[in-house]
Every structure is written in structure tokens, then in C-alpha cells.
């Protein structure tokens, strides 16, 4: 079975047939075991030892390596065919909603409809835990609509701004 795996913006093709695992066509030697705790895995990759914390949410995996959190998406061949053309919310093209990562108070909205913004540009000032936090755009784009208003209390994951 073939799998297409995206880690951030890099994609890998992995093929698994019984015990044989191919990474981008190259056979790799992997020994994967869970070590006691539910989400803790020990991996021997050609003898090199790694520890990973894995949280699975359907075909999305959050994998923590040496404290760094990686977002990993897996599609198999069929899923890939089905998804071709269709926009997944997490794909970089198409619309993107900037969500409130935590509940808080909108102190100021820093962009307006129609603004063209850069990746990493601050778009909203959100106050939480007595601190003002800048929300930044995950990618460049045009502001399609501004949902949040100054002084508004927002819940976690509430959409604040829609980019296109």
C-alpha cells in the first residue's frame, strides 16, 4: 500500500508491503515499538534510536520529536485520488481562516478587508492571561473578511479573519 505523507510543506511517498517499507522508493530499516505509555514510541531507524510522542486524530498525526511538534498528514492512494482537486482546509491554497488559538479578548484588529498581507504579519491583538498576544498570518494572502471586532470576547478556535 502506498501512502503520501506531508510534514509541514514537505511530502514523502511511503510504500508498505508486509515488513518492507520504502521511503521515496528507497527501502528503509525501521523497528517501531510502543514503550509502555500509550503515545510514546521507540524507533530504531537503521540502528539509530529515536523517541516520538504520537497523537493521532484520524489521518492527522501530531508527532513530538525532541520537543518539536510536527504536523503530519497521511493519505493513502485512494484518499489521494479522492482529494485530488478538492481543497482541504489545511492545504495552503484557497481560503484560510485565522482562528483564535485560545479564548481571549480582541484588543485590536490590525488589518482590514482587501488588505494584502505577508506570511507572519500580525493581524490581531488578542489579550489572554493578562498578556497581549499578536496573532500572525500563517501564509500570505488577501483579507477576504474580518469576523472579529475590537473588544469582542472570543472562544478557542473562533474564526477571526478569513484570507483568500
Amino acid at each position: 500500500m502506498k501512502y503520501y505523507v506531508r510534514v509541514d510543506n514537505n511530502e514523502y511517498e511511503i510504500e508498505i508491503n508486509g515488513d518492507i517499507v520504502l521511503l521515496n522508493g528507497e527501502p528503509v530499516d525501521v523497528d517501531l515499538v510502543r514503550s509502555g505509555a500509550t503515545e510514546l514510541y521507540s524507533v530504531l531507524f537503521g540502528g539509530r534510536s529515536h523517541e516520538m510522542l504520537v497523537n493521532a486524530d484520524r489521518f492527522n498525526y501530531q508527532i513530538n520529536v525532541r520537543g518539536v511538534q510536527l504536523q503530519v498528514q497521511v493519505e493513502d492512494e485512494r484518499a489521494r485520488r479522492l482529494n485530488r482537486g478538492r481543497r482541504l482546509p489545511t492545504l495552503p491554497d484557497g481560503e484560510l481562516a485565522i482562528l483564535a488559538p485560545i479564548p481571549g479578548l480582541v484588543v485590536r484588529v490590525l488589518v482590514g478587508e482587501g488588505d494584502s498581507i505577508e506570511e507572519g504579519q500580525p493581524v490581531i491583538l488578542l489579550e489572554a492571561m493578562k498578556m497581549e498576544n499578536e496573532l500572525r498570518a500563517a501564509r500570505a494572502g488577501i483579507v477576504k473578511s474580518v469576523v472579529a471586532t475590537t473588544g469582542q470576547r472570543v472562544e478557542q478556535n473562533a474564526p477571526l479573519i478569513i484570507l483568500e
Binding site: 510502543r34 497523537n55 493521532a56 525532541r66 493513502d76 484518499a79 507572519g120
Partner: protein, 508 residues
């Protein structure tokens, strides 16, 4: 000595104090908010009582309830930890009224140092050097005028401040008014008082502070300096002792100045004098005195061998200090990294969730002060600092290498933490050379991008594919997308998987 002590705090510092009490054979009482029923400090204490709902102002800031519990439990002393009520003169006074010893300085000393402007005037009389700044009680127009006088860049600070809250650096006239507004908002939110004042901003200055211990018999000791220049938005993230910038002669001199500042207010118990330190000419200026135990006190403990919290208790019980200034000889090097529930790759956004896995570092030279436990729910009610990782080494180099080792061992599942940020700093040549100042982080925009992991990233891809394969998720995938775009149903799947894999002796 006290028979029973109440700790009016939560998190790692509550546990730190409870441990000190247990090691002195003192019975302990914890207080907790409804959100903290199963917190470590509740389980650690001999007794524990709920004092209200999650928000601090309804629980950990409720003096009346805390003193009420203290009375009912029959404690003879209260330790406030840091934050919360630790620097509220009226709380120290309320304890005294209730006939309970406050483990800390007198209300007068807290008062005198608590108001930053009064503090500056008090210590100036003792010849303690100060940064040029504005006088008190100015409204916005007054501040603008004062700023012109002092000259830019300047620093805005909260009069009731501390912990960097309400602080703002301003580099030109233009940004001033807006910055004052933001600073007042933060100050009001944090301290219920929006008064701010101005100070000349010393470029490329370091933050160096002196720990002092004073007993009630007239002895005040300097436990030497801590280097706290690694800050983000005026929040300390990494501290070390000693400081690479301070030599033996300077250490002695700054120690004497700090002792003078403490004596200026008849200070008793543990306190810290913060200085702005200018490496260019080794000049230093009094910033403020923190009239409480500091977050970073462990690094001083590791290089001096003195248990500061136990000394606080002994001092409050009227004991004489067992040390003379000559006994305080720094030995080796200590570094502390503050572990916070924040995402360094998303602008240090606070991260909430349940700690699904935990393995903390240990072994030679490693000390962990932690509030973490598996199953702990990290809420947004309290400060995001969840643990402190502290290491000791014979040399600074050994300490840095040991800190790297310990950071690599630290495993916290379920939430984002500042660990990768600290790993990045420990690898940075600027930090290794010690040639940094308080502008260090703003200059290098750390945590902007996560490091490239190379093999580990490939491996993560392989592991995810193997798990998907093992789980036979293919079927559910399309459905998942079709119905709800692939969200929902998190752990359950993994639990099932867990069961089966364990059956296979965790191997396939």
C-alpha cells in the same frame, strides 16, 4: 520553630515551599482553587482546603479566605511564595493582625519597595546609583514632556509593577502615546493600578540582580549575583549564576550596594535587588527590589549551597543566620530554563490541554522544580510557567552541555512547551560566549521558524504511515473527510490500537 505552615500559593513554588517545610519537620497546609483540586501541591501537603473558584481574584488572591483557613487549621506561619499575595503589604499586615507570622519582610518594607518611585527615592539617599527617570503621578501629557527631557529611547514601567507586566520600550516620540496606553491597560489588568513612569533606556544593558538574606538580628548578607538578561517582553526565560559580566571585585561592590539598599528599608528575610548593568563600562543602576522569593532562586542555591527557602523560614522564626559574608563562596555554575506552556513557533502563544505523557529529566547535576503530572489539565487561568529546569556544572561550559542533555530528556505530551526554544538558545554561539544583553531575543527573533529536523522529519513521516497502515485507517479516511473534513474522534482510535499492540507485546 513553627509547628504548622500554610502555603498561600500554587504550582511549582507551592511544592518547593512544602518540601522545605517537610524537611524541617513542619506540618503543612495547602490552599487550592476549584481548578486545582488534584494539583500536586494539594496532594503534597498534610492538609488542603478549597478557597474558591478558578479565577485568582476569587481564590488565591482572597486574603480573607486564606487567613480564615489559616486560623481554622491552627497554623503559626504563612509562606506566600511569589506572585499572588507575596508583595501585598496589606496581606502581611492582615497575617500579623491574625497573630500569624508572615514568612517575608515587614508590611512597611514591602510598601516602601513596592511603589517603584518611592523605592528609587529611598535608596538614592543611601548612594545607590539610579537610571534617570520621570517623577511620580504624571498624566499622559506630563509623561510626554518628561520623555522629551530624558531623551529617547525610554522605558515605560508600571508604578505598582513587577514581572515585566505593563513595561514598554519606546524609541521615538511618535510611538509614545500608544505605548503608554497599552502599558496602562496591562498595568491595570495585572495590578489594578494603571500608574506608569518613565526611565531612560540603557541600550544593550544586562539584567543583573543580587540575592540578599537579612535576619532580624541586624545581619544582611549578599548571596551574589544572578544574570537574567535572556528575556522576552521583559519576562525572564533563562537565568544563570554567576554572571560572565561580573568579576570578583564587582561582585563584592554590587553586593555591598545591594545590602545598603536592603538596609535602607530595614529589610528582613530574602529579597532581590535588580540592577541594569552596562557592560560597556561596568556601570550599574538600581531598578527595583523584589520583596519576595524569586522564581530563579534555585540557581543561587546551587552555587552557594544555601537553601534559601529554609533560611526564610528560620529567619521568620527569629533565628540568627548561620553564615558570615566570608562563608558565601560561589562554587561552579548554575543555569535555569523556565518551562512554559507556550508555543515558541507561534509567537509564544499560551498552550492549553491535558498533559498526556510526562518524563522529566534527572541524573547528575539536574534539578527539576515542577507542577506537572500526567493527566494534569493546563488551563489558561494561571501563569503559563509549569516547571523550572535547573542544572549545576563545575564550569559554565559543563552547565550548558548538561542543560542541553536535560532538555533533550524532557518529554511532555499533549501540550506545546518552550523546550525547543531553550534548546535553540543553548545551541546559540552568542549564548555560549555569554555576549548577550536584554535585547538578545528581540534581535535574533528566536523561535521564528522551527529548526529543520532532517532525518527525524523523514522518520516521522515513515512512522505516521506505519501507524496508519497498522490501524487500517484507509476506510475511515474518505468517510472522515466526506462527513466532517477529518476532524473529531481523537484518542479513542489510539486507545484501541494501544490495546491491540500491547497484546502483541508492543511489537510488530
Amino acid at each position: 520553630m513553627f509547628k504548622k505552615v500554610l502555603v498561600a500559593n500554587r504550582g511549582e513554588i507551592a511544592i518547593r515551599v512544602l518540601r522545605a517545610c517537610e524537611e524541617r519537620g513542619i506540618a503543612t497546609v495547602a490552599v487550592f482553587s476549584e481548578a486545582d483540586r488534584s494539583a500536586l501541591h494539594v496532594r503534597y501537603a498534610n492538609e488542603a482546603y478549597c478557597i474558591g473558584p478558578a479565577p485568582s481574584r476569587e481564590s488565591y488572591l482572597r486574603m480573607d479566605r486564606i487567613i480564615d483557613v489559616a486560623r481554622k487549621a491552627g497554623v503559626d506561619a504563612i509562606h506566600p511564595g511569589y506572585g499572588f499575595l507575596s508583595e501585598r503589604a496589606e496581606f502581611a499586615a492582615a497575617c500579623a493582625e491574625a497573630g500569624i507570622t508572615f514568612i517575608g519582610p515587614s508590611p512597611e518594607a514591602i510598601e516602601a519597595m513596592g511603589d517603584k518611585i518611592t523605592a528609587r527615592e529611598t535608596v538614592r539617599r543611601r548612594g545607590v546609583p539610579l537610571v534617570p527617570g520621570s517623577e511620580r503621578g504624571l498624566r499622559d501629557e506630563g509623561l510626554v514632556a518628561a520623555a522629551r527631557e530624558i531623551g529617547f529611547p525610554i522605558m515605560i514601567k508600571a508604578a505598582a509593577g513587577g514581572g515585566g507586566k505593563g513595561m514598554r520600550a519606546v524609541h521615538d516620540q511618535g510611538a509614545l502615546v500608544a505605548a503608554i496606553g497599552a502599558a496602562r491597560r496591562e498595568a491595570m489588568a495585572a495590578f489594578g493600578n494603571d500608574e506608569v513612569y518613565l526611565e531612560k533606556l540603557i541600550a544593550n544593558a544586562r539584567h543583573v540582580e543580587i540575592q540578599v538574606l537579612a535576619d532580624s538580628h541586624g545581619t544582611t548578607l549578599s548571596l551574589n549575583e544572578r544574570e537574567c538578561s535572556i528575556q522576552r517582553r521583559h519576562q525572564k526565560l533563562i537565568e544563570e549564576a554567576p554572571s560572565v559580566a561580573v568579576d570578583e571585585k564587582l561582585r563584592k561592590e554590587m553586593g555591598q550596594v545591594a545590602v545598603a539598599a536592603a538596609e535602607a528599608v530595614g529589610y528582613v528575610n530574602a529579597g532581590t535587588i535588580e540592577f541594569l548593568f552596562d557592560s560597556k563600562d561596568n556601570s550599574y543602576y538600581f531598578l527595583e527590589m523584589n520583596t519576595r522569593l524569586q522564581v530563579e532562586h534555585p540557581i543561587t542555591e546551587l552555587v552557594t549551597g544555601i537553601d534559601i527557602v529554609k533560611e526564610q523560614i528560620a529567619i521568620a522564626a527569629g533565628r540568627k543566620l548561620r553564615y558570615k559574608q566570608a562563608d558565601i563562596i560561589p562554587n561552579g555554575w548554575a543555569i535555569e530554563c523556565r518551562i512554559t506552556a507556550e508555543d515558541p513557533y507561534n509567537n509564544f502563544m499560551p498552550s492549553s490541554g491535558v498533559v498526556s505523557y510526562l518524563k522529566e529529566p534527572t541524573g547528575p547535576g539536574v534539578r527539576v522544580e515542577s507542577s506537572l503530572y500526567e493527566g494534569m489539565e493546563i488551563s489558561l487561568f494561571y501563569d503559563p510557567m509549569i516547571a523550572k529546569l535547573v542544572v549545576w556544572g563545575e564550569t559554565r561550559a559543563e552547565a550548558i552541555l548538561r542543560m542541553r542533555r536535560a532538555l533533550n530528556e524532557y518529554r511532555i505530551g499533549g501540550i506545546r512547551t518552550s523546550i525547543p526554544f531553550h534548546q535553540e538558545i543553548m545551541e546559540s554561539t552568542e549564548f555560549m560566549w555569554g555576549t548577550f544583553d536584554t535585547g538578545f531575543l528581540s534581535r535574533r527573533r528566536v523561535g521564528g521558524m522551527r529548526p529543520h529536523l532532517g532525518e527525524e522529519e523523514q522518520l516521522a513521516a515513515v512512522v505516521a504511515a506505519m501507524l496508519a497502515h497498522e490501524e487500517g485507517r484507509q476506510a475511515t479516511m474518505h468517510v472522515g473527510q466526506a462527513d466532517n473534513g477529518g476532524k473529531g474522534e481523537p484518542v479513542v482510535g489510539l486507545w484501541k490500537q494501544a490495546g491491540r499492540m500491547r497484546a502483541q507485546r508492543g511489537r510488530w
